[in-house]
């Protein structure tokens, strides 16, 4: 691979990668892999699954780079791919085990968390519905705004806000040891 263009904006790197510059793609991977991996880690719980999902996301990104038109920010587009990669892992997990319940909880302190409460939060995160967790991770952990999350998920901004509130309530209950009441993420208020 050629060297990478660390000074170039994402859009330029993406264009170069489409033209065959693998070094430009490598720079995109280096630039974004931490965010993609952390998204997957909080969505999936287990570090090995998160790594797989991150790799899948970048494979899909590479395959579809020519479809990236630049209307949205590259990071928005990549986040959409990464969320779908996480959903794929979650779906395979359930398909294979035939379980609708929460996935395996993360092993304790598998990526450096020092305190027990951190493990509790990670476990509680996995106990809330996937679509709630997605919005919560994107907003409260990845610090993305309502508008960008709406573009990533292709839902109205009002849906993002109501889903975020429900997600927080569900996580708050899970942290307190309360079972979440049945929630249907699709039954959401529209803006």
């Amino acid at each position: 691979m050629t060297s990478g263009g660390a000074h170039l904006p994402d859009r330029e790197l993406a264009a170069r990668a489409v033209a065959g510059d693998d070094g430009a793609f490598a720079e995109l991977v280096r630039r974004h892999e931490r965010r993609v991996y952390n998204l997957a880690l909080r969505m999936l719980g287990r570090s090995e699954d998160a790594r797989d999902a991150a790799q899948d996301a970048f494979v899909s990104c590479y395959r579809n780079l020519s479809k990236f038109r630049g209307e949205a920010a590259f990071s928005t587009w990549l986040h959409r791919i990464a969320v779908n990669a996480c959903y794929d892992v979650l779906r395979r997990r359930r398909d294979v085990l035939g379980l609708d319940e929460a996935p395996e909880p993360p092993p304790a302190a598998d990526h450096g968390d020092a305190v027990t409460t951190s493990v509790d939060v990670r476990r509680a995160l996995l106990a809330i519905p996937d679509e709630f967790r997605t919005v919560l991770v994107l907003h409260d952990i990845q610090d993305l705004g309502y508008d960008e999350i709406a573009r990533i998920l292709e839902v109205p901004v009002g849906t993002v806000k109501s889903r975020l509130h429900r997600a927080r309530v569900a996580l708050g209950r899970a942290l307190g040891g309360e079972p979440s009441p049945p929630s249907d993420p699709s039954n959401e208020g529209m803006p």
Binding site: S60, I81, K161, H165, G172
Partner: protein
């Protein structure tokens, strides 16, 4: 939640979920904030939810950020160029497809595989796998890397003819070679009860995701929907890999597919069409 559906007299009929998110985030305008505060004064359910939301926000804010995983861009590009995407995968634009129906069927077998562990020591004591029986001693063995199309393998009998025996799902440190994969196929056909790996060497059960990925990769490669008898995470020629074995009891055919961890590239396939007693 019943009180949420029966608001207090004087309270707005609809709970302002969208505004409650902004209220907790502190992003509302002054007017919006006053409206929410007025609602909260009369709605105990929403007050409780705001408290829960604040607790959630505090908890997630304390989560540490993990380091970058150090992905290999060259491997990603290689995979993107050479691997046929699985049909069950989502597309980049967000379409989600239903999984193949057979996945539900094999799901039960996978659960059985995870529930029971097994194993043996056919390869125990063989350091790098190079000391295993050579491929030349196993007639019918193929040793080619193939795209996941099923290639020239003869079709296995229908799933109904397969009699699953022990299913293995472990991680181990054994380093398989082409010869030892061939030996695995041969041993399965010749009555080997999959004394293949031992949990003693730091092995652990595969996660559901790992098991599912290995199964999908191998089935894509083999072009069949049969349930594998054996799924092993090990090392193949020094690289992390899954070994997935299919076997049709009735016709004494075993197929072993090697795929690298994390992708669905087929590294190696071997087949042992045994027809009788062990040739050796």
């Amino acid at each position: 939640m019943s009180d949420r559906n029966s608001p207090s007299p004087g309270a707005p009929a609809r709970h302002p979920e969208e505004a409650l998110a902004g209220f907790v985030d502190g992003t509302l305008s002054e007017d919006e904030r006053r409206l929410v505060e007025a609602h909260l004064r009369t709605c105990s359910a929403c007050r409780a939810e705001v408290d829960l939301a604040k607790a959630s926000l505090e908890a997630t804010g304390a989560l540490p950020e993990a380091d970058a995983p150090g992905l290999d861009p060259e491997a990603i590009v290689h995979t993107a160029r050479t691997v046929v995407p699985l049909k069950s995968r989502s597309t980049a634009t967000g379409e989600r497809q239903r999984p193949a129906r057979w996945l539900g069927v094999v799901g039960g077998l996978a659960a059985a595989a995870i529930a029971g562990v097994f194993l043996v020591g056919l390869f125990r004591g063989q350091g790098g796998g190079g000391s295993a029986t050579t491929a030349a001693q196993a007639p019918g063995v193929e040793s080619t890397a193939r795209p996941p199309t099923g290639g020239s393998f003869a079709p296995l009998p229908s799933p109904g003819a397969v009699q699953p025996r022990t299913q293995t799902a472990v991680v181990a440190d054994e380093n398989f070679s082409r010869a030892s994969v061939a030996e695995l196929a041969r041993s399965l056909v010749n009555g080997g009860t999959s004394d293949v790996l031992s949990q003693q060497n730091g092995a652990r059960r595969l996660s559901a995701t790992e098991l599912g990925r290995a199964r999908l990769c191998a089935q894509g490669a083999a072009g069949t929907a049969e349930s594998p008898l054996l799924v092993v995470r090990a090392r193949f020629e020094g690289r992390p890999a899954y070994l997935t074995a299919f076997m049709a009891e009735g016709s004494k055919v075993a197929r072993v597919v090697v795929t690298p961890v994390g992708t669905c590239t087929v590294l190696y396939q071997t087949q042992y069409p045994g027809t009788g007693p062990s040739p050796g």
